[in-house]
Amino acid sequence: MFRHLRLAGFKSFADTAELDIEPGLTGIVGPNGCGKSNIVEALQWVMGETSAKQMRSNEMDDVIFSGTSSKAARNLAEISLILDNEQKKAPSEYNDRDEIEIARKIVRGKGTNYRINNRPARARDVQLLFADSATGARSAGIVSQGRIGAIIGAKPDERRTLLEEAA
């Protein structure tokens, strides 16, 4: 299903970065603070995450590259995720192609918008597309940094959502 991720202007990725998502185990390595968790958040964001707090941010504009001492801030961030649709398991309107491209863009001060195969879509459409395949921004299979400690430390009624995910 997941094939390829492209991010530009998202958090510390000022320029375009591309990641092939292949079968088996893909490791992501690098020093502290280099941007590894930002990649995990890029995937959650393009799958329809609507809470800035989940992006460790105060507001959603904070995900746009904010500049460094030598590079100017950007005003736009865009992430595109390419899914394999060879088995035509997606909702019917997308089955005209072997691939589905989900894109999400945010412009500073102007909000965010989604596109599926280059046609405008709502957050809802994108979220449903992933929910049909038992995944999504809040899926149990996406374990962000520190989440295991949070599950162990949570109160019992906060943990019930785990079971709902398995249902």
Binding site: A17, L19, C34
Partner: protein, 162 residues
């Protein structure tokens, strides 16, 4: 909805009793609904006992034992309703070497069982060496991330000269 929740609890517990034994090399663990007869308002409590130890509340387990128990639960939920991708961000940080290698064996086992694609962020040398491919993230220019595909050798040096 109640029925579905109870059903998924049974399935998750079935997976958990196997997975906990794989990760800990023995022992047992179980999830139970507490505080209410209605599953929709009840809480979920975790009971776990590593091999040779008594069943006890989670808070008495060590840091690494809690992390390993948490992993077993996440994977049990995941296997009950497998999804095409699984992303793990430094879940191996509190683990000692022998638990890291059991964790990697379990990953291999899940890949063959479900065809899931995994993205695994790690600092552990052992975990890196078990990956099918590696991406390095660098900040040659401070504050600006770049993504490069690397081999194990380069990943090692990436760790060293960071």
């Amino acid at each position: 909805a109640r029925h579905r929740l109870l059903d998924s609890l049974t399935k998750v517990n079935a997976e958990l009793s196997e997975l906990f034994k794989t990760l800990f090399g023995g022992g047992k663990a179980e999830l139970k609904l507490i505080n209410s007869d209605d599953p929709l308002t009840a809480g979920l409590e975790i009971f776990a006992s590593p091999p040779g130890k008594k069943l006890q509340s989670l808070s008495l387990l060590s840091g690494g034992e809690q992390a390993l128990t948490g992993l077993a639960i996440i994977f049990s939920v995941f296997l009950t309703n497998p999804s095409p991708i699984c992303i793990l961000d430094e879940v191996d940080a509190p683990l000692d070497d022998s638990n890291v290698s059991r964790f990697c064996e379990l990953l291999r086992h899940i890949v063959t069982r479900t065809q899931t694609k995994f993205l695994i962020v790690t600092h552990h040398r052992m975990t890196m060496s078990q990956m099918d491919r590696l991406y390095g993230v660098t900040m040659a220019e401070p504050g600006v991330s770049k993504l490069v595909s690397v081999d194990l050798q380069t990943a090692e040096t990436l760790r060293e000269d960071e």
